[in-house]
Symmetry: C2
Subunit: 389 residues, 2 copies
């Protein structure tokens, strides 16, 4: 593969097509914050504001400012969302709502812990970009709320009857792997090391089930496999995304054995999750091959594919894995030939099993200014290192 | 159409294929209640017990006993589930859990009002079948709980922030249309008339939006259209199913104008919801043509199609509508050629847009012993009347 050519391709797509799309189309200049529900051409089709996506866009523009170039319009765009979030996004005590209406009035209560994790990421990165200590303070206070809530993330909205089947879910430790490194400058090395050690163990030794060779989305509270709908549930893209978080932590804490295990798990999830008939990676599967409860199980989602490309490139860069190189070519070809839109910038998000566009939105309730630009940035940077070799 | 031949077809499918499937495959002889997660051949692939489906199977076998034939095995099967539900299904005060594990221990709290509505239906019908007044008493007490909760059905699990956007949902008045008639023998004519009048108004004049010509799933508390994801949401099968409940009420209360309006709405929902490219009725749509939040929007579901057949036949029988006859031929052909399984009894539940089987289960978390046999029974009975004409 020509890493120089690829590097340019990922960089150009990021800086000349995707970033301008969000910069120009998403900012709500009247009420603040961002629109995320944008149709194929970037026109707003709904004005609700989802905290996940508000926070992720603050993070993305702050990150670009911190890592790519000190462009004032990027910082301004990040501050535009940061100020809206600071004012309307939480209940006064850094409990983050799930969604707001256009004007910033809360629509959905703070039931979702990931609103908190993305707010913490956003304000830590914005603090770094702006030099404004208030933002770092919001990030730290939000991180405290996450630690308080991590044993019962849904709080009073938890509908599980206590005691019958106590499961723990993969998503929080998975996100914490990323958040730990994201927040090192605010939390300090000691706190990060403590968090990182615990969440790496959870991901690699608890949610990874060696008897299946797979990462499951839920396990019993004692760490054992649960032969139930939730316990058998696989989300290959989710597990594969976690593997690049683990590789980053493996590099940071000098643990090559963690990198090697993450690479092995990634290959196994790819083998299991790849659609041999139509190509692409399935959204949900059952570890025993039973029907899933998720009707969208066979769809091909943008984030699954771009996150996989990041993990594969990091693996190639860190270990030179031939298997990862082969997989990268396959997933890269599928991704660029199915998710990109030649007519209008930003990528499609949702394809059916056959690879046809299912919803032609560029942003919605769950797709915003995040996975595509973050993924293009991560791939670009890793390709730079590969090209230098 | 040859109504005599059709009548035999629906009857045979019900009595010789579908009913024996559930009778033989679903009863849990060890722990009580029913398995609903059955694969294509009827083998159990998960043992969780969902109250919706437990109650609906009690109702179905009670109804068959009451209306088709006094078969002891049908009554026994209904009692088998009824006793399990009575013992394990609620919290002691007729607040019905959402799901239980195989042994009957609660898994999910009583957050879902439809667990209550199906329990009320089940025990009212079982009371009639068994002559046991205790079951009627459970039905009445459950009905009281529904009335108490109808203004905030999710109770403390409601995540909507109060005041910003107060919506009301179509599903409860829609189900109450059916429940009112189902419970007439337990509640008395006066209570039924009062409930029926109110819910018919909600369905025909509030959730039906004349400016759109469509029934929406949610409206503002004041009855106006909400131009939001929830307010624009359409579920054509849901609206069309409600139309046969309305037709039944129209007959019961001698309101031909309600029957005529239900017929008109049904035709409009069918025109909007029919997939002109691949056939079949879409699962979810947006009233303004925007992308839906529901990723499964384009799938073809069994209950949507069989409920539509019921509504169409009732319309043909009550008014002789030529349009309904044309639609019936189209939907009947699609349904029988796509959902039925020549190899093994019971129907497939979930097809992709193209009409291919998406999940080959015969029962799961949401599909049980209900829509197929109820639909076959309703169609059969209406065809008997049509054949007699």
């Amino acid at each position: 593969m020509d890493f120089n050519e690829l590097e340019q391709r990922y960089k150009n797509e990021l800086l000349n097509r995707v970033v301008p799309f969000w910069l120009n189309k998403s900012q709500d200049l009247e009420f603040g914050g961002y629109f995320s529900c944008l149709d194929r051409k970037g026109n707003v089709f709904d004005t609700d504001k989802f905290i996940w996506l508000q926070a992720r866009e603050v993070w993305l523009f702050s990150m670009l400012y911190n890592k790519v170039e000190k462009k004032q319009e990027w910082l301004d765009c990040a501050l535009h969302g940061g100020e809206f979030l600071k004012k309307y996004g939480h209940d006064g005590n850094y409990n983050w709502f799930f969604s707001l209406n256009r004007a910033g009035n809360p629509l959905v209560q703070p039931y979702n812990i990931f609103s908190y994790t993305f707010a913490a990421m956003a304000f830590a990165q914005l603090g770094l970009a702006s030099g404004n200590a208030e933002y770092n303070d919001i990030a730290r206070k939000t991180f405290d709320r996450i630690l308080e809530r991590q044993d019962n993330p849904k709080g009073k909205y938890n509908k599980a009857y206590p005691g019958t089947r106590n499961l723990k879910n993969f998503a929080l430790p998975m996100i914490m792997c990323n958040l730990a490194l994201e927040m090192e400058h605010t939390l300090g090395a000691e706190a990060v090391e403590k968090t990182a050690k615990s969440v790496m163990h959870e991901v690699l030794n608890v949610f990874y089930r060696p008897e299946l060779g797979l990462v499951v989305e839920n396990v019993n509270a004692d760490g054992s496999f649960s032969d139930t709908f939730d316990g058998r549930l696989l989300n290959p893209g989710h597990a594969i995304e976690a593997m690049w978080f683990i590789m980053d932590l493996g590099v940071r804490f000098n643990q090559p054995e963690a990198v090697a295990k993450a690479e092995k798990i990634m290959h196994q999830m790819l083998e299991y999750g790849w659609d041999k008939k139509y190509g692409g990676i399935f959204y949900f599967m059952d570890a025993k091959g039973h029907p899933t409860q998720q009707l969208e199980w066979d769809q091909k989602l943008w984030w699954v594919h771009i996150e996989t490309l990041i993990s594969l490139l990091k693996s190639i860069q860190l270990t030179g894995s031939e298997k990862s190189l082969e997989w990268f070519e396959r997933v890269h070809d599928y991704t660029w030939s199915h998710f990109t839109d030649e007519q209008h910038p930003e990528w499609f998000g949702y394809l059916n099993r056959q690879g046809e566009v299912l919803l032609d939105l560029k942003g919605g309730k769950w797709k915003g200014c995040f996975h595509v630009p973050r993924g293009l940035y991560q791939c670009w940077q890793t390709l730079v290192k590969l090209a230098e070799k």
